[in-house]
Symmetry: D2
Subunit: 291 residues, 4 copies
Amino acid sequence: MPQNTKTAAEIIGKVFPCLDHGFVRLVDYMGSDEAVVQAARVSYGEGTKKLREDRGLIRYLMRHQHTTPFEMVEYKFHCKMPIFVARQWIRHRTASVNEYSLRYSKAINEFYLPESETLNLQSAANKQGRSTEAVDVELQKQILEIIKAGTDQAWQDYEKLEATGLSRELARINLPLSLYTEWYWKIDLHNLLHFLKLRLDEHAQYEIRVYAQAIAEIIKIVTPIVWEAFEDYILKAQTFSKDELILLAQMLKFTPESTEPLPVFEDSGLSKREVEEFIEKLNSMKRLRDH
Amino acid sequence: MPQNTKTAAEIIGKVFPCLDHGFVRLVDYMGSDEAVVQAARVSYGEGTKKLREDRGLIRYLMRHQHTTPFEMVEYKFHCKMPIFVARQWIRHRTASVNEYSLRYSKAINEFYLPESETLNLQSAANKQGRSTEAVDVELQKQILEIIKAGTDQAWQDYEKLEATGLSRELARINLPLSLYTEWYWKIDLHNLLHFLKLRLDEHAQYEIRVYAQAIAEIIKIVTPIVWEAFEDYILKAQTFSKDELILLAQMLKFTPESTEPLPVFEDSGLSKREVEEFIEKLNSMKRLRDH
Amino acid sequence: MPQNTKTAAEIIGKVFPCLDHGFVRLVDYMGSDEAVVQAARVSYGEGTKKLREDRGLIRYLMRHQHTTPFEMVEYKFHCKMPIFVARQWIRHRTASVNEYSLRYSKAINEFYLPESETLNLQSAANKQGRSTEAVDVELQKQILEIIKAGTDQAWQDYEKLEATGLSRELARINLPLSLYTEWYWKIDLHNLLHFLKLRLDEHAQYEIRVYAQAIAEIIKIVTPIVWEAFEDYILKAQTFSKDELILLAQMLKFTPESTEPLPVFEDSGLSKREVEEFIEKLNSMKRLRDH
Amino acid sequence: MPQNTKTAAEIIGKVFPCLDHGFVRLVDYMGSDEAVVQAARVSYGEGTKKLREDRGLIRYLMRHQHTTPFEMVEYKFHCKMPIFVARQWIRHRTASVNEYSLRYSKAINEFYLPESETLNLQSAANKQGRSTEAVDVELQKQILEIIKAGTDQAWQDYEKLEATGLSRELARINLPLSLYTEWYWKIDLHNLLHFLKLRLDEHAQYEIRVYAQAIAEIIKIVTPIVWEAFEDYILKAQTFSKDELILLAQMLKFTPESTEPLPVFEDSGLSKREVEEFIEKLNSMKRLRDH
């Protein structure tokens, strides 16, 4: 295993800025790539192995969705984000959270104001998404003015309500979803990777994707071998449905003989075991097609 | 067991109004008091018993925090509430949720406007709570005007942003926390009782307590024996710390002889087993005191 | 939606035998295919649609791993299985369980004795699996005799220890892992499908796969459209890693022009939307290859 | 906060023996008393305070069941225990586990043989428990002989089955519940305290209580202030039901005047806030009684 401990230690507490006022900050972590290997070796009852085998084991676990060893690493972050981002984030239930409470404490005058270039229109094709078309500069300006005036007004109202002595839990009810909140967020690596898979996806809202990208930067440093396996086997992988596999098999036009290892495997970066697994997938595609 | 099936069936789909535009509605449920007994009897390996014994078993389970049989009952609700209530509610992670999405669908023009008499000032004693003092009527009026004008403005802005064609996920960011949202919420009875314990508490914010009370009405009908046990052993119970128990023992001034069942137990409503348990608690208080 | 309610109702309580003394029995359920659609429509804010669209929606949710609507269906089973199977089963933590307790109740004299034809030897290739080779009949007989004599002896010892008056929780400690136990098991459909994905897999131990198959029979009846989508998009799907996708792209030898819908799609059973998604997957394969 | 970091660091990896062949070993941990305070202060939005206030905050959180800050501390243990203990332990679902697998690896010849003095008979009063009566020495000897002979035979059979080449996953099915297994177990402090509350209880089976006690020793060192609060407010506390509170109020015979702080509070160790809370509990008892 590469010695990342020092580098990981260096980023503890470091602010990774997100959006206009937000951030992600690694507060603490427990375990690293080694902890995954250590836990897996308990299950398999094997002794410690060499570095190359450790990497191979992590990649095997990731590829075959043996997820429990990845739960043995724990991350704790301090995050600051707009409430509408926090509302998407909190849907991931397998985490521990302590959030700044507007019942106890006064709100802070910080609201998310999008960058002009992210002000995309509603996508026609995708009901939940933004179009990628450029928006007229004049329209951008107009939109930002409405948003800015809205948050200014909301903050003035909040100050006025506070001044009346109204209880905090009521004074805050008209604060907008663009208000920044913050929390401590603790989660194990397996569930964190699942969060990243969903929130790095291009269908995730841009504003939460920014946070997922910052977290990804952090875990690349703390658990680099796990991250590499996650990219190769999950993030950049594709799943094909039964009917898609039949189509692929038709397109490949391969015949029974073509199941032999092909020269192309030489440069593929696949391990010997993965070549076998790949050929088995090809064969099972053929069986689906010829069924 | 009393035959509540019919009554429970009758309230399926019925709207229990909460606050000015909200509600709770029982969509479906699985199991009733009987399901708790049935599951407990698997563990204990006993055959079916009579009604009186079923009630006794449920009360025993509740009293001794044998919580798993209560997980065998499932509830599904349709709820509509202001976003600031939803944000407290969602912190209960052991539930399944599908919420109305403002990325997909247009917001609905409904905002929470508190009743005048609930507009309490910040409590001096309790950092997170409201004072119980009455508020000046003129001040109430003034507060409501600020809130009302704020939501009117926010809605106008939202309509304007929608009209520009801005993507929905952006157009909604300045909508206030008082906007109503809705969701399907599914949870087992054990975790629902835990939710109710916390949200029926007088320290819970009034606006979520209203929802907890509506849900309590529903589960009283569907699982009446469980509800009765929950009230007697959890809701209306008190826990005394080690030092408080020592004080109590001093105040009781009891001596070794006083551990015998006292006449007062005759009318107490305690079962024979509970009398034994109570005397054991008194004795353990004395041991703490005399230690 | 097809009206399966009646058929589902018919199998409630029906014993699905597993192994020599075990079974799975549907005790209760909440919701059906419709409940998934109902929950998803809350999120999307759409009204009720026609049957064909309901099926399409369920398939869309399954394909894109929008898993929360599947949590809205709940299943409760009564199961009886050898303890070594129960030990694998219980690792699925997102379920509620009440198990027969050997601290409270006497054990029942039922042990798992494998069928001769399932007595496979250790696989050389797969450290955790069985070889598929046939085993010598004489050896089978010999193995079964050892196992049978072992359980007979263990039961005699248990009876002797019980006769001494030894506490049950100690008398049971030498009972073997082949002893049958039973439990109530309650789980939502999303987590049940995950259980089935892992336990229907050919790498799962044969003895737990038998139970997964029995449960699959049941959910095919209660939630048939969900099951069909699960088979097409999960069970019979294949995931290809980044490097495998590059290989596939090389084998397909396709060029930029080949991204146009090919005639082969006509008979593919893919919906219009799925054809677009498939072409996008092919294009992304090419991009990986040509990168 | 006391500086326990050094002491905690010293016990990492140290074996805490349990039963005849078992142990608990702290592998790693994240956070300490400070981490609880740090997370709570995010919610309350307050700056760092002095040591005395930190202790007070932890005690306040424990007393009022504000449990989320306790989730911010994480523990990882390596444990070895008989399978029947592991089966009780695994019922705590909010933990991560990697267990030694008898499908992959050969069993180890270690079985739990109880100490003579723990061989209690079945309790007459308590269906799930042991009597506390001493057992005849001759009977003890006889019981141990049966158990010892049983495990010897089971091991011989296992060796014989292994020798036939039978797959490991089948060869192990007649191994008894007294066989030792081991695992890595990771859990947050809130859920660990809940585990300890249940497993330190005198109704827990002696053999798992031994492990709970070893873990308690460890967390006393790593999170001493949390442990102290846990003892005072949870472990040594008593909960009284509604009817018990009425009885207590009758026994106390107190009148409205007696609600004034009594001299006895001077030496009670209660904080000013706790005295107020105690008087409120007494008053609510009276209200229940006089209702």
